[in-house]
């Protein structure tokens, strides 16, 4: 059964990419609906099978680890596959209605969308270093294509800057892969871990890890290397920016986290871990500060992504040379943070898109009177905001609670301060938007009311982000499952 | 009749308490006005008919309520009931239309407070009725609404709240020392309490504001002239006595000899009596003079209180004398105040009778033989006789008493003089006249049938003083008459020189 599910998971997105390439926008949308159904069904099935009998290795093409490529299908990977299924399907459904079907070049949206989805699945399940590189490239290029889809000067400018940043990041990562292959002679992560357990590592692979993490940090837009993200995510169409902020950025972080959890203990050192942590904290502060100053609504949400990404990199200091229970707590915290941020950010971008569509201008202070005439979409924006501000009972709060416990437990109390300050700062820029929307200036309702289905999707995502707070126990239980069969070296 | 008393007591308090409900209907204000005199009647029957000694247990009230009656409280209840009835009748004739309902509401609440505190034995309800009387009294004072009334009201309220707070502090400390919620336990506990002096000071100051101790009396001469006549009658007659009752039930008489406090109270009483007289004589408005007369009379009662504090054995005797004196003063002062609002009838004969009826309560106040004043003065003289008291200032008491008597008569004469200047001839509304006459008869005649006893201080028949006593009462009056004549001559010379 699992073979069918794995094949389905790998085959469907690529097949649908090719199918939608051949159709126009309207037919592409109908085909995509079918594809989404299949993909969600497969992801759910995979998640349930792993929930029952633990993770396993899946050799592609029938060849074993060092020679062939193996996919590592464990609790964490499957959870992210399910998350991708949820967010991508929501964005796909929203895009189907949101994007103007009459423009001829919009037909290419669907193939790029499906290629992005297949790239994401390849990255979540990847166990082989070079395979991850190709997955990353798949994601980057399709993301650039999606950003540039509009084609006006700003969009092109943003996509070029994004492309350059992505390519430089991939090259740095490839350089790291080259060094590791040079040193260990194998490309599968499990193999390298096996080798490292038996021998003490020299300085060379340390640089490799540093290079790979830097490259991935650049692709995740960590603080000093973040300048390409806001224009790209701000200018792209809302469903595209939702996909980018919620999932694409997380893919490169996921690889960095996998590498750090695998090689961090032996290759990394305390100074590097703390440095990455401080860069994360700086991202939280700097991103929130800039978000407070933005005039455009989507720029605020984009800079909020820069800030929230900062939290993720707290994983590095919190899992380096700490007791296993605290490290598990930190990993659970970061997983919840990724999931809740993905859901909340996607909901927020979609809701922002709806608001801009109905208000007619993308400025924040044009939102006056929205709370009176567009309560539903503002409410979904608000609920997503609650999760972003990590206020109870949202998933964000559960993540912040676990991270607080981990940082206090491991004695690194300064991360706790960053978490709290981040929460307050995010409240600052989000309530600035609510404040604008509560102003009672226009008496009459001169807003354009989009179709109901547009507004339901962000609400569902926001409610899932909120509900995550209550079900986080079950979600996390899948992660800690024992790994069924040890992979070949 | 044992069962009836508690029910009658609750009725006596609840009737005036629920009376303001009548104010809800706008067109009932005439009926409200006529109901005024009826309010104190249940209390009057309770005071007259019941033999003191019943108790009413109210466990659900505040911290466990207990109402009871003893001889002393019965005297005060009687005084309050009589005075409020008489003033009520007077008020029916006196009241004009504006703010009628507001006045009646305040009248009812103050009456309820006044009656309640005479019966309350547990601290909670005693203090509640005391506060109700104080705050509702404010409404009576500022009824006229003139600027002067508001100023008097503000001073009254400020001092009253300060007084309330010190009472609250005193009672709190006493209650925690006695570890009980009943007033009866306080004196015994106070005697042994570590912070005794602080508690006694707080209680004396708190009740002193109401009773008009010197330096705490400022609101009295301001409030009486501005208040409507029945209100000032009741204020001076019954409400001031509440402060006195407060002292009597809380301070530790008969438990321990507080010689220090006794001496200071005697001094305060003396200063009050004489000082008030000096200030009173200089007043131009008749009601202001009467206000100072009340302060000086209260001074005398404080004198007796000081003596009782200093000498524990004499305390029970002095209690009855104080009660008698309070009754006499209340009734006399009430009729005097009511006379201030009376206008002279046309006929020459009527005018003479009216002047006599105005003067008689005043003279009774000064101690004219065959009047309640004489009896009260003799009882006081016997009570404070030098041989029976053994404390420092005992020797000075007789001369102070005579000075007090002289001062009282001077004030009465001053009052008559200012009244003669102010009174004009006119028609008296029937109820007003009836109220005044009832007050005078109560003071002069009905007094003898009231249930006070002088505990053997004055030989029977009490209304007929012995020959030597007559002289003792009369000579201070002669001195004050001489002084008044002297002042009259000086005044005529100055007026003839000026014209």
């Amino acid at each position: 059964m699992t073979l069918w599910l794995m094949a389905g998971l790998l085959f469907t997105p690529l097949a649908w990419a090719v199918l939608t390439l051949l159709t126009d926008f309207v037919w592409g949308r109908r085909v995509t609906w079918v594809g989404i159904l299949v993909q969600v069904f497969v992801s759910l099935g995979l998640w349930l099978t792993v929930a029952q009998n633990g993770g396993f290795y899946y050799d592609l093409g029938g060849w074993g680890a060092p020679l062939g490529i193996e996919l590592r299908v464990d609790g964490l990977a499957v959870t992210f596959v399910l998350l991708t299924a949820a967010v991508a399907s929501a964005c796909g459904l929203h895009a189907g209605v949101y994007i103007d079907r009459h423009k001829s070049w919009h037909r290419y949206f669907w193939p790029l969308f499906w290629f992005l989805w297949s790239g994401l699945n390849a990255v979540w399940l990847g166990g082989d270093l070079f395979n991850l590189y190709v997955g990353l490239e798949l994601i980057s290029l399709s993301a650039v294509g999606l950003v540039a889809l509009g084609g006006n000067a700003n969009a092109l400018r943003a996509s070029i800057r994004y492309l350059l940043a992505a390519l430089l990041g991939s090259l740095a990562y490839l350089l790291g892969v080259a060094l590791i292959y040079g040193q260990f002679g194998t490309l599968s992560i499990a193999g390298v871990v096996l080798w490292l357990d038996s021998h003490s590592a020299s300085a060379g692979p340390g640089l490799a890890l540093a290079l790979m993490v830097t490259g991935l940090a650049l692709k995740t837009a960590l603080f000093p290397l973040h300048r390409w993200l806001p224009p790209a995510h701000g200018i792209a169409k809302s469903p595209v920016s939702a996909l980018l902020s919620a999932l694409v950025v997380k893919a490169s972080f996921y690889i960095a986290a996998r590498l750090w959890l695998a090689f961090g203990e032996s290759l990394g050192n305390q100074a590097a871990a703390q440095a990455v942590g401080f860069m994360g904290s700086a991202a939280v502060i700097w991103g929130s500060w800039l978000a407070c100053k933005q005039v455009q609504l989507k720029q605020v949400v984009a800079y909020s992504s820069v800030a929230q990404i900062g939290y993720l990199f707290l994983l590095f200091p919190l899992t380096y040379s700490v007791s296993d229970s605290i490290s598990l707590q930190a990993q659970q915290g970061i997983t919840l943070q990724v999931i809740s941020h993905a859901l909340a950010k996607a909901a927020m971008f979609l809701a922002a898109g709806n608001l801009i569509l109905s208000v007619g201008s993308s400025r924040v202070d044009a939102l006056a009177g929205v709370s009176r005439f567009l309560p539903f979409s503002l409410f979904s924006f608000g609920l997503a905001g609650v999760s972003l501000m990590s206020l109870p009972p949202s998933g964000g709060f559960a993540a912040k609670w676990l991270l607080l416990q981990a940082s206090l437990g491991s004695g690194q109390w300064w991360w706790a301060l960053v978490l709290l300050a981040g929460g307050l700062l995010s409240a600052a820029y989000l309530f600035r938007i609510y404040r604008a929307s509560f102003a009672e200036i226009p008496e009459t309702d001169q807003f354009f009311h989009p179709s109901k289905s547009l507004e339901v999707i962000p609400m569902v995502l926001a409610l899932m982000a909120l509900g995550l707070g209550f079900v986080s126990e079950q979600v996390l239980s899948v992660m800690a499952l024992p790994f069924a069969e040890e992979g070949a070296p | 009749m044992m069962v009836a008393e508690p029910g009658l007591a609750v009725l006596a308090v609840c009737l005036p308490l629920l009376y303001p409900v009548m104010a809800l209907r706008a067109n009932w204000h005439r009926a409200m006005c006529f109901a005024l005199p009826l309010l104190p009647l249940p209390a009057f029957f309770l005071a007259v008919s019941s033999d003191s000694g019943w108790q009413l247990e109210l466990p659900w009230l505040l911290n466990g309520g207990l109402w009871a009656m003893d001889d002393l409280r019965r005297l005060f209840l009687l005084l309050t009931a009589v005075l409020w009835t008489v003033a009520g009748v007077y008020a029916v004739g006196y009241l004009a239309l504006p703010h009628m309902r507001r006045f009646c509401v305040c009248w009812g609440l103050t009456l309820a407070g006044n009656l309640g505190l005479t019966m309350a034995v547990d601290i909670g309800s005693f203090y509640s009725f005391f506060a109700l009387m104080t705050f509702a009294g404010y409404g009576l004072i500022v009824h006229e609404g003139t600027k002067e009334a508001h100023y008097a009201g503000r001073v009254y309220m400020a001092m009253a709240v300060l007084g309330e707070m010190s009472i609250l502090a005193g009672l709190l400390l006493a209650a925690s020392a006695a570890d009980s919620q009943l007033l009866t336990d306080l004196p015994t506990a106070l005697a042994r309490a570590p912070q005794r002096d602080l508690i006694v000071a707080l209680l004396i100051a708190g009740f002193g504001v109401k009773a008009g101790l010197p330096l705490l009396h400022f609101w009295l001469p301001l409030a009486h002239p501005v208040a409507p006549t029945p209100a000032s009658a009741v204020l001076s007659g019954a409400m001031i006595k509440a402060g006195l009752l407060g002292w009597l039930v809380t301070l530790p008489f008969g438990e321990v000899a507080l010689s220090g406090w006794g001496a200071s109270m005697v001094i305060a009483g003396a200063v009050g009596a004489i000082g008030a007289a000096i200030l009173g004589v200089l007043q131009h408005r008749p009601k202001a003079v009467l206000a100072y007369s009340s302060i000086s009379q209260m001074g005398l009662m404080v004198l007796m209180l000081g003596a009782a504090l200093a000498d524990p054995e004499r305390a029970p005797v002095l209690f009855s004398v104080i009660g008698l004196y309070a009754l006499h003063h209340g009734l006399a002062k009430g009729s005097l105040f009511l006379s201030a609002g009376v206008s002279l009838p046309a006929g020459r004969m009527g005018q003479v009778v009216t002047w006599i009826l105005i003067a008689l309560p005043g003279l009774s106040l000064a101690g004219l033989p065959f009047t309640s004043g004489a009896l009260a003065k003799l009882a006081m003289k016997a009570g404070l006789a030098e041989d029976s008291l053994d404390f420092a200032l005992a020797g000075y008491l007789p001369p102070l008493m005579t000075a007090g008597a002289i001062a009282t008569l001077l004030l009465v004469l001053r009052y008559l003089w200012t009244l003669s200047a102010k009174l004009e001839t006119g028609h008296n509304p029937p109820m007003l006249l009836a109220g005044w006459l009832a007050a005078v008869t109560a003071s002069l005649i009905a007094f003898w049938w009231m249930p006070w006893d002088v505990a053997g201080l004055v030989k029977a028949p009490v209304w007929l003083p012995a020959s030597y006593q007559v002289w003792a009462l009369v000579w201070p009056m002669l001195i004050s008459l001489a002084l008044a004549g002297l002042a009259l001559l000086v005044n005529q010379k100055r007026s003839s020189a000026r014209s």
Partner: protein
């Protein structure tokens, strides 16, 4: 799920469901929305009464499920929680009636009533919380759901007030979260237990326990409007009257005080906190807040701002009562939680009536209001005298019990504070009463509306009168079995003899 487990969840769910239904109803569905509102309020009151009766007879209601690894979501109804739940249930019913009348033809009523019932749901959650984590969950939900109510008018002033409100409460929430997380990492998941957990804490964590206590009190102090953190309350008075009545006089402010009571009694335990020397400074701070806020109230011109400062000082009574560590003083503190709520809501209702019917907002415009609106003015007078502590009203009971409680632990200076604050209360309440009754109207009323026989609309007229009568009844009949005083004694009895 037996009845014991099911009832507290149901009590919580009623107002949550009500808020969702109200959000679903269209803006113009007035009758349906009012009926949903009132139905939910009455239903909740019935459930709370049943639970009060159950708790009185020793039934312990409780439900818990693990939300996060290592942390459980616990709902538990004990005597203390039932007091706060009872207060909020009763006053929610009255305030809903009042709010329906108050917002007669104003816009955004769906949003208002939706968030209104959300607020009450979180208040109920705070009351029923079984451990600090659940408490914090509802504490933050309360902040979130009160913000839209504070900025309901949408004017510039309202938005600025909302901003200040948020800055205070969210910072407080962050500090509280840090303290709870630290306590959690130090001592594991602490559920509220009569007598507290740290009676015999080992000495080496004393220092951090003290630090955590300070942070907890700071976090909760923001909502309890303790001295340095009270700035937001007077500004939040720009909200409509029902909001300032139920929320800023009762629900939000009491949540903070209730939190501090929980921390001192059920997390640390009274002996432990006095042994750590935490209660004395807390009592000084509370005393200072009482006097400071009363003096600030003296020269406030706007009526609701003066009431706000009075609220700040009155809430600190509760904290003073708790911090005196004596059983009798604790009774005084706890009973004031109820008394102050009822008295203050009367005053705010009356303030709302004056503003809505006669257009009065400042105190010097109130001359002669007694003539025009006698019913409301009687209620205001009763409430004012209750606040001053004039017997036989509810305020006196608190002062009396707290005074004797303070003397029992020979803290004589507390009497000074009580007397001083009563004087200040008199100083700023009596002039208002004087203006109401004994001053003539200066010209016509600014914004007069005629309602026929009653002085104002029945929705607005009856709630303040009802709460005024309740003030008198719980004052005079203080010793009845189910009166606030005896319920407070029941709590302290169970607290001191666990």
């Amino acid at each position: 799920m037996t009845l014991e487990q099911w009832l507290p969840v149901f009590a919580l769910m009623i107002s949550l469901a009500a808020s969702l239904v109200i959000f679903a109803l269209p803006e113009t569905g007035y009758v349906r929305r009012t009926s949903v509102n009132l139905g939910a309020a009455v239903l909740k009151l019935v459930v709370v009464i049943v639970m009060v009766w159950g708790v009185f007879h020793g039934v312990n209601y409780g439900v818990s499920f693990t939300m996060l690894p290592g942390v459980t979501f616990v709902l538990r109804a004990d005597a203390l929680s039932m007091m706060f739940a009872g207060l909020s249930a009763v006053l929610w019913l009255l305030t809903t009636i009042y709010a329906v009348g108050y917002l007669e033809d104003s816009p955004n009523r769906r949003r208002f009533f939706g968030f209104f019932s959300l607020c009450v749901a979180s208040t109920m959650g705070i009351a029923l919380a079984g451990n600090l984590f659940t408490f914090f969950l509802f504490y933050e939900m309360l902040t979130l759901s009160t913000y839209p109510l504070v900025v309901h008018r949408g004017t510039e002033k309202a938005l600025r007030a909302g901003r200040t409100y948020l800055i205070y409460t969210l910072t407080g929430g962050a500090v509280l979260l840090f303290a709870i997380a630290w306590l959690h990492s130090l001592a594991g998941d602490l559920s509220f237990r009569d007598g507290g957990h740290f009676v015999d804490a080992d000495p080496d964590i004393h220092r951090s326990l003290i630090l955590i206590f300070i942070l907890l009190v700071a976090g909760l102090g923001v909502k309890a409007a303790l001295f340095p953190l009270h700035g937001w309350l007077p500004q939040a008075m720009v909200a409509p009257a029902p909001v300032s009545a139920l929320l800023h006089a009762v629900a939000v402010v009491k949540a903070g005080a209730f939190g501090i009571v929980r921390v001192v009694y059920d997390v640390y335990g009274v002996e432990a906190s006095s042994a750590l020397g935490l209660l004395a400074p807390l009592s000084w701070l509370a005393a200072f807040t009482i006097l400071y806020a009363s003096t600030r109230a003296l020269w406030q011109v706007d009526l609701k701002r003066r009431l706000a400062f009075s609220t700040i000082s009155q809430v600190s009574y509760i904290i003073l009562g708790i911090a005196l560590a004596g059983p009798l003083a604790a009774v005084g503190g706890l009973v004031h939680l109820l008394h102050q709520g009822i008295m203050k809501i009367t005053l705010f209702f009356c303030a709302g009536n004056y503003a809505e019917t006669l257009g009065i907002h400042r105190i010097d415009e109130m001359d002669g209001a007694g003539q025009r609106m006698p019913g409301t003015s009687v209620a205001f007078t009763i409430g004012a005298f209750g606040m001053i502590g004039a017997p036989p009203l509810a305020g006196f009971i608190t002062k009396w019990v707290m005074g004797s409680g303070a003397l029992a632990v020979n803290m004589d200076w507390v009497i000074l504070v009580l007397v001083g604050s009563s004087l200040l209360n008199a100083a700023y309440f009596l002039p208002i009463v004087h203006r109401l009754w004994f001053r003539e109207v200066k010209g016509a009323w600014p914004e007069e509306r005629h309602w026929g026989r009653l002085e104002t609309s029945p929705w607005l007229f009856w709630p303040p009168l009802l709460t005024a009568v309740v003030t008198v009844v719980i004052g005079v009949l203080a010793s009845l079995p189910f009166s606030p005083l005896s319920w407070a004694e029941l709590i302290v009895l169970r607290e001191y003899a666990p």
